[in-house]
Symmetry: C2
Subunit: 392 residues, 2 copies
């Protein structure tokens, strides 16, 4: 583990092959952090970690948080230290960064296609427990061949389409494709059948608790029925995994799911904050912000900040201005954000720094090389977003 | 300049501090390029460069292409070799990468606020001609102080709001703020008044030629009038700069603008392709694509590709599937794209690789470490996107 200070032993390095300007130095006051930067309120972040840990402790489910949200080994280590069994990733290149950082149990919650990627995946399985999803029989054979070439065992789960209508086999399809895939996996000596992936992505963003209850109840029924049919032919189905920040209490209490894979709970974002909370559900607070400066004050009711599309992803809506009532982020271009200032609101002067709540945390984190970890308005660490851009 | 092959002398390097997997090796067939990757059709790209060069040659305007689109020194060098006087950047950190790469004339088409950034900007002005925009008198004094500290001269242009309603002073405001700023700049020994920045961003994306003609005519009138008022008090106003890919012929022929700053023409994207072309205007073709693989074929009418929000920015609309009639990109999540396949269309099999036209080229390029330069379906070079993530 790189100590937080070590990043700063190297001075900012700019060559024609890239820039390593650092947004802050350890010990800086928050106000001295350069902009735009990704800042993490450590007190809130640590409460979010503890809240999730408490929500899972003493229940029959394991926590395997999704690392696609943070792409940061330091955060994975903290999640595991608080009881997570490992992490989820979406890409082989992401998993490689975490395995290189010492994580020894990674589930790639995605189909991986192509001999080059499968060879890399199988080589990782020499070092760590590596799982992957399938929804195609030819892909099962390709993974088995890669595992055999690497002399490693790979765990394979069947992905069910339980409502997301993305990847996965239809649990209700004629010919019982999930059962056929489980049989094909179990028949491969280099593979281990892990169970079922039953993630309903869309359910995370249904706004009312009732809609989410209904969606996850359906998903759990499909998963339970498929699991029974696989076990009925003598193939054990140890894991049923799914769930995200918007619904994990439902999967936890379903009696069907055995692993949960929420990611965003550590940070939160404007989109998740639009969900109406379920009664009694654990509450996660906003810990992640885009730190931005007012770079132009062209009119009394307009301020321009230095964070646009390349500093805060707008796929799920614009960022929100935090802790500054009466000022709204109304438009983003590549490198600019336009703020509207209500009559009577406190008006941010040129150079004022303020916090934005990103619209969607995962793709926003992917825009940054560093997370600036701040406690009580002072920089405690810079954590590299090591799997940033790990697409392959 | 790094030779294209040099990047590959180093094997792919994965540590807990990051991944440097390369998407291709020089000489690979296109079909062997890993996905998702950013691919550039060199023949089309070079035609786009030549088309812009020809459109400006023999006219009174200079070409200063915007490097925020490509963030790639190799592309800047090619633009300059074909007659560009220098480049534009949006961020100090971007400019640093290009100056480190040998570019000696950079206009930062943005307001830069804060002593730290201004000191970096001024230090660059020891090596290169560096320009920057202002719309605030206090900012003029701060730039002058930084230039004095660095012992360098910085060129400063006044930004006019000619319709974008972002940064810039109102050319029609009481008290003639542009004139006051020009006077303040001219009075500072460490600064050189460069002229006016009159960029109308919104005009690039007006869909009909008539709308664009009207918008740029207004912008040009404001710029001309402001220039006259500044020259009337004895301050020369050598440069009027603006224009983008969607409108540059209008600025070129305005009799007012002296520099053009288009960026996207080298690549093009789905958003620019929605513009109705003006009669007789130069045509730029799509050279930039997101190369993606079909990773799941759950139903006969749905294919899932491995390029989602983290591989193609959706701020200006979804990517379009290229060269594959009857297949449409209909939804993006973080790491997945959903394709709908029309009845009767050729159906892409699992593992098929296809090209996407990104919705918006600039923020898409910013997601990648490499541009894979391809000619006649063979990889000719890998160019580092050196200023990727250069936010500060």
């Amino acid at each position: 583990m790189r100590s937080p200070g070590a990043a700063l032993d190297t001075p900012a390095c700019i060559t024609e092959h890239g820039s390593r300007n650092l947004p802050a130095a350890i010990g800086d006051a928050l106000d001295a952090v350069d902009t735009p930067a990704l800042i993490l309120d450590l007190d809130v972040f640590e409460r979010n970690l503890a809240t999730m840990s408490a929500a899972v402790r003493g229940t029959p489910v394991r926590l395997r948080p999704h690392a696609k949200s943070h792409k940061c080994p330091e955060i994975a280590r903290r999640q595991i230290a608080l009881g997570a069994v490992g992490i989820c990733c979406q890409k082989v290149a992401e998993a490689e960064v975490f395995v290189a950082a010492g994580v020894r149990d990674v589930l790639i919650t995605n189909e991986i296609v192509g001999a080059g990627k499968l060879d890399r995946l199988a080589r990782m399985a020499r070092l760590a427990r590596i799982g992957v999803l399938v929804d195609d029989g030819g892909n099962v054979r390709d993974i088995a061949a890669a595992a055999a070439r690497a002399g490693a065992e790979v765990e394979v789960l069947v992905e069910l389409d339980v409502g997301a209508h993305r990847c996965g086999v239809d649990p209700d399809a004629a010919g019982a494709p999930a059962l056929q895939l489980a049989r094909a996996i179990a028949a491969q000596p280099a593979l281990r059948f892990g169970g079922l992936h039953a993630y309903h992505g869309g359910a995370q963003h249904l706004r009312t608790p009732d809609e989410r209850v209904h969606a996850i109840a359906c998903a759990a029924r499909w998963a339970a029925q498929t699991k029974r049919s696989i076990e009925a032919i003598g193939i054990p189905c140890p894991t049923v995994t799914g769930a995200g920040t918007g619904s994990f209490m439902l999967e936890r209490d379903s009696g069907v799911y055995t692993e949960l894979q929420p990611g965003s709970y550590i940070f939160m974002d404007a989109d998740y904050r639009r969900n109406e909370p379920a009664e009694g559900a654990p509450v996660f607070a906003q810990s992640l912000f885009v730190w931005t400066s007012v770079m132009s004050r062209p009119t009394h009711d307009r301020a321009i900040v230095d964070a646009g599309l390349k500093a805060s992803s707008v796929d799920s809506g614009l960022p929100m201005v935090a802790e500054w009532p009466g000022v709204r982020f109304v438009k983003a271009s590549d490198e600019h954000g336009v703020l509207e200032i209500d009559a009577g609101a406190k008006s941010p002067a040129l150079g004022t720094k303020l916090k934005l709540v990103p619209g969607h945390c995962d793709p926003t984190v992917n825009l940054y090389d560093w997370i600036v970890a701040v406690r009580k308005e002072r920089v405690e660490a810079l954590w590299p977003v090591s799997a940033r851009g790990a697409l392959l």
